[in-house]
């Protein structure tokens, strides 16, 4: 990939998996909030380097390219604690559920997300990178601004009762740089371990060998407007769910 002049919001197509990625220039931003959930306190400043983040979560069609290339098992489960009907892949044909090609892939564990990222020569975004992409430099609450608005994302208010195709709520639900479906639709796995704020990238919470809980961001079709925002963090103390997916990121520059 030739290195071009990188500007904020520049969109590239990453060759290894063919996904669009959006450039986010590094900087210092406000992470967390003093007025929200307990696990988002206290508000603090974090400085991060430039990176690219997937423009939308990994979809079923994109995940299929990964499982075809590597032979990774398809997401198919029959458990009492999660309603997988409509989200299970077919084990024989190794196909995603009909009509959901452009929906974010769900029923994936953090390890599955990591396997995809490693196949695509990418990684999962850290919690700070995710929040930076969603909140920007001025601490907005939602990717599109400070106020929740209907028809901007897939939460219970949208009454879709399930995942939606990525881009259904574009461009009104996008960040100014063009990142899609950060809030709503599916919770997204990040690379970070679930630890109290303030966030420090080098205190061991980005260690990838720990089996402890990872942070999920962005809320889902199951959540309401109060929970669904760019600040909310969920501890992933389960293996998978029908409203949990992921997107990837890569370092930018040399």
């Amino acid at each position: 990939m030739t290195k071009k002049q990188e500007t904020d919001g520049e969109i590239i197509v990453f060759p290894d998996d063919g996904k669009e990625m959006v450039f986010q220039s590094g900087g210092t931003f406000i992470m967390g909030s003093d007025n929200d959930a307990e696990n988002a306190k206290p508000e603090h400043r974090v400085t991060i380097d430039s990176f690219y983040i997937d423009r939308w979560p990994v979809t079923n069609a994109e995940y299929k390219r990964f499982i075809d290339a590597t032979g990774h098992p398809v997401p198919n489960y029959d458990v009492a604690w999660c309603d997988t009907s409509g989200y299970n892949w077919d084990i024989e044909t190794r196909m995603y559920p009909a009509g959901k090609a452009e929906h974010p892939v769900v029923l994936v564990t953090w390890e599955d997300a990591l396997a995809y990222a490693q196949w695509a020569n990418k990684r999962l975004p850290t919690e700070a990178e995710w929040e930076y992409a969603a909140r920007g430099l001025n601490g907005r609450r939602y990717p599109w601004g400070d106020k929740f608005q209907l028809n901007h994302c897939n939460t219970v208010e949208a009454r879709l009762n399930g995942t939606s195709a990525v881009g259904t709520f574009s461009p009104q639900g996008d960040t100014p740089e063009g990142v899609v479906d950060l809030v709503g639709n599916v919770w997204e796995w990040t690379n970070s371990l679930f630890r109290p704020y303030p966030y420090f990238a080098d205190d061991g919470r980005e260690d990838m060998t720990s089996g402890h809980w990872r942070v999920l961001r962005g809320a889902s079709w199951v959540n309401d407007a109060i929970t669904a925002n760019a600040i909310a963090r969920l501890d992933g103390d389960f293996l998978f769910y029908n409203n949990v997916g992921f997107r990837c990121a890569i370092d930018a520059g040399e």
Binding site: K41, A80, E111, P196, P198, H212, F238
Partner: protein, 375 residues
């Protein structure tokens, strides 16, 4: 020492130099003492609350001694000197009794990396032909029910008991105030140092007294006697089985018969708040569990108001504890306000007193209390 205007008492407890010692050595029940300490720490103390101590006020006694002209006792001297040396500032408030997790702290040392057994090691899993609940014959369930045997789990670190229902199911997990209601059995306190038990980690179902444990997708999984339970699988439990949820081990065993034959033995009834580990001793007689409310000057006998977020859903008059005359068995009755009361996962009917067995878990909508006895 100036007293509050309109106070019926000569000396003010709030500004008394020996307040803390007075609370400690008073005859009041530990729950009353805790109430007083908390109320003082939160600045919500009232005259009525101090009345518990005022009935035995040492300063008043010292005054009487001085009036009688008797030689001043050592205590009286100390009190007098303390009074004279007072600077007029309030002594520092008593530290809060319940341990709280700090919301802001320097980066903690990395948690011990536990060797969570990954699901991709099939050789270590339990064999697939586990007898599931539907395969256990009706005959077997009937004979188990007839035998009357009861089982409980013993939490290995601290010996806390979790009595299992004969029929019905219990969800074991941790309580996250931000996401939903507490599970039927709350392991938050034992797991506080590890954060390994998920919100919904395991479900134990009873059929006639035979128990089955079901995997519920917790990230750490369930290990039984060293072998990992497959995703979504169910396994029958046998006496002596050790179940491990993340870092917490539970031993499944028969409840010894003498627990049910306490008769009129003198025992101490104790409740443990599952989320914090705090123990509350239940004084004899009829007691109301609830949440004290200073706005209407109401005090529950067993007050859960200091649990903060956990007790917000507990109503003021939540449940009634009583003991039939001469017997050691403690009974609980739901008083009709709140989300309903569950004992070991089963909702109880209002207006009826249910006997408690050590290890029973009482779910009060906002918090879970574990009941036990001390002989």
């Amino acid at each position: 020492m100036p007293e509050e205007s309109g106070s019926p008492y000569k000396y003010s407890c709030r500004k008394c130099p020996i307040r803390n010692r007075c609370i400690e050595y008073s005859d009041s029940a530990p729950t009353i003492k805790a109430q007083i300490r908390n109320a003082f720490a939160n600045k919500t103390d009232t005259i009525d609350l101090w009345a518990h101590l005022q009935s035995n006020c040492l300063l008043v006694k010292a005054d009487e001694e001085a009036k009688k002209g008797s030689t001043e006792s050592l205590l009286s001297q100390r009190l007098r000197r303390a009074r004279e040396n007072r600077t007029g500032e309030l002594p520092p408030p008593a530290p809060p009794p319940t341990p709280k997790k700090p919301t802001f702290s320097p980066p903690p040392p990395p948690k011990p990396l536990t060797p969570f057994i990954k699901a991709s090691q099939p050789d270590d899993n339990l064999p697939n032909d586990i007898r599931d609940p539907d395969q256990v014959t009706r005959h077997e369930i009937a004979s188990a029910r007839a035998s009357g045997q009861r089982f409980w789990l013993t939490v290995q670190p601290n010996g806390r008991h979790i009595t299992l229902p004969i029929d019905g199911s219990l969800v074991l997990g941790r309580y996250d105030p931000h996401f939903g209601i507490p599970p039927d059995v709350d392991l938050t306190f034992e797991d506080a140092a590890y954060d390994s038990v998920s919100r919904r980690h395991a479900r134990i179902t009873g059929k006639g007294g035979i128990h089955f444990i079901e995997e519920m997708g917790g990230r750490a999984g369930i290990v039984i006697n060293g072998k990992k339970l497959g995703l979504g699988a169910t396994h029958r439990l046998y006496e002596g089985d050790i179940i491990t949820l993340g870092h917490i081990s539970l031993r499944y065993s028969l409840i010894p018969g003498w627990i049910f034959r306490l008769g009129s033995k003198a025992v101490t009834h104790v409740f443990t708040v599952a989320a914090t580990g705090e123990t509350i001793v239940v004084p004899p007689g009829e007691r109301i569990i609830g949440r004290s409310d200073r706005f209407i000057n109401y005090q529950a006998d067993i007050d859960l108001s200091h649990l903060g977020a956990i007790s917000q859903k507990v109503s003021r008059r939540r449940a009634l504890l009583s003991q039939p005359m001469g017997l050691s068995r403690l009974y609980i009755e739901d008083m009709g306000s709140g989300f309903g009361t569950k004992i070991n996962g089963e909702l109880i009917m209002m207006g009826k007193a249910y006997p408690l067995t050590p290890g029973d878990h009482i779910w009060l909508g906002g918090c879970v209390l574990a009941y036990d006895v001390q002989i």
